[in-house]
């Protein structure tokens, strides 16, 4: 029964979701099932936070070399939850709103003045690493690599205004690459992946695919 019941639940939910797409009368049942899914997802997010906290508390208690980082993470989790969830919006001291997550609150200030610049910095560093990686790895070792390199150069230069300054036809050539060869390959991949997903989905809702409950 430990295998049969989950398989039965999957089959029933799978069929309801498929039928919801084609037969509107099934919609209310499908909507109710999706509500259950949202509740499960919300609970899983809380479990995720609890798990991160548990792992990092363990690192701190074992004096792991990464313990200082784990302490920063734990402190951030506790403070952000306290500011954003538990402190009321009315908690104002020294002109600063300590509770809530709206504009002007401590939560909002930490987010906009610490988290946003840090993420932006991480992302912008990519430009430097891409430049270094391109210099080292983008070598015309084979005809395929040559085609890839030439295409990359055309797209890179065609996507920015300097491309049209260098040659009027550059944006057009870049657009042609995006709209013809790129599209042909992307569409083939998309259709192939979609057919694979349909086949796998059918196997699951017909009860033929049972690996997700373990065994076989």
């Amino acid at each position: 029964m430990r295998r049969e019941i989950p398989i039965l639940i999957t089959i029933v939910i799978g069929w309801v979701m498929v039928m919801d797409f084609f037969f509107p009368p099934v919609s209310s049942v499908a909507t109710r099932m999706r509500d259950w899914t949202l509740i499960l997802i919300a609970i899983s997010q809380m479990l995720g936070v609890a798990n991160v906290a548990r792992i990092n508390l363990d690192k701190v208690s074992r004096k792991h070399p990464d313990a200082p980082y784990a302490m920063v993470l734990l402190l951030a989790i506790v403070l952000m939850i306290a500011f954003g969830v538990f402190l009321p919006k009315s908690a104002t001291i020294g002109g600063l709103t300590w509770g809530g997550h709206e504009g002007g609150s401590v939560f909002d200030k930490v987010y906009n003045q610490m988290y946003v610049p840090m993420q932006g910095t991480m992302f912008s560093l990519l430009a430097f690493f891409i430049a270094s990686a391109a210099y080292r790895a983008f070598k015309i070792r084979s005809p395929e690599a040559t085609i890839l390199g030439v295409t990359a150069v055309i797209i890179m230069i065609g996507q920015v205004p300097i491309g049209s300054l260098l040659w009027d036809g550059m944006p057009g050539l870049s657009a042609w690459i995006m709209n013809v060869p790129n599209l042909a390959a992307k569409r083939a991949i998309l259709i192939g992946a979609a057919l694979g997903a349909i086949a796998t989905g059918m196997k699951v809702i017909l009860g033929l695919e049972r690996n997700y409950v373990g065994g076989e």
Binding site: L38, H101, G103, D108, Y115, V160, N179
Partner: protein
């Protein structure tokens, strides 16, 4: 090891400095570049232009601070364009680290364009659930978001008394940094409910969305900072995307120069090694 071999193994810190100089020049020296439009940007612009004044627009802003440099300019231009036509905006995000930045952009733009919260726009915040949320919100917005981002009951907001499902809106304008984003909105919602959809996405994900644009499932597409700059030019605003174009152009030129230099050195050194 001769100097050409040493050059081929150039210290990466020198490459970083070259890149820094390339992107800094346009910041120090003002460079104005013409920004020609493209068909997908023109289609994006025309789709909004053809909307009846005062239409309600569904605006999922699915991005986080990592993509702000690329996506914030297109979100600001889209809001400018939509609000010039007095469109009403129902905004929310499916990215957990997105609400703070989306809320800040909305409040800033609403202040600049004299738009009132609750009447001209609402921000519903974030909810976990990705594709499930997409389908659920298409059926009932207040069912998924009983409260807005600030905790007010959604049904008390004047705008939300006019709309409660996707088909009450005239257009979906998605700002997308990846998953969940444009691809999932097309698959789960656009095809099913036949509401026209526009996408503004990061440069790296744009090639993935071209099939949806060519099939007509996307009525227009803005790809990366370049797409945002072209759209700013169409809307008639000089925003951060336009300002960033010279730096991005120089950055691309630097990468191309490095690729060419790397390959010349690779070929020359390979020939030398073969001759020995």
């Amino acid at each position: 090891m001769d100097w050409m071999q040493r050059l081929e193994k150039l210290d990466r810190r020198i490459i970083f400095v070259i890149m820094l100089i390339a992107v800094s020049i346009p910041v120090l020296v003002r460079l104005d570049m013409p920004i020609p439009s493209s068909k997908e940007v023109d289609d994006y612009y025309e789709t909004i232009e053809k909307l009846p004044d005062g239409s309600v627009v569904f605006f999922p802003a699915d991005f986080d601070p990592g993509s702000v440099a690329e996506l914030e300019p297109m979100m600001r231009s889209a809001l400018t364009h939509l609000w010039r036509k007095n469109c009403k905006i129902v905004c929310f995000t499916l990215w957990d680290t997105g609400p703070g930045i989306v809320d800040a952009i909305l409040r800033d733009m609403a202040g600049k364009m004299n738009k009132e919260y609750g009447t001209d726009y609402v921000f519903l915040g974030f909810k976990a659930g990705r594709e499930v949320i997409m389908v659920q919100i298409a059926n009932s917005i207040s069912g998924v978001f009983p409260q807005d981002y600030s905790g007010k009951p959604t049904k008390d907001l004047p705008l939300m008394q006019q709309v409660d499902k996707l088909t009450d809106t005239k257009l979906i304008v998605n700002i997308s940094a990846g998953y969940p984003g444009t691809k999932e909105w097309v698959q789960q919602v656009r095809t099913r409910y036949a509401v026209p959809m526009l996408s503004g996405c990061t440069g790296v994900s744009a090639p993935e969305y071209y099939p949806y644009y060519q099939s007509g499932q996307l009525s227009g597409l803005l790809g990366g900072l370049g797409g945002a700059a072209k759209y700013e030019a169409r809307v008639g605003v000089k925003g951060d995307a336009t300002a960033g174009m010279p730096a991005q152009s120089m950055g691309h030129l630097a990468v191309i120069a490095l690729i060419l230099m790397g390959n010349v050195l690779y070929v020359v050194n390979k020939k030398k090694a073969g001759a020995r």
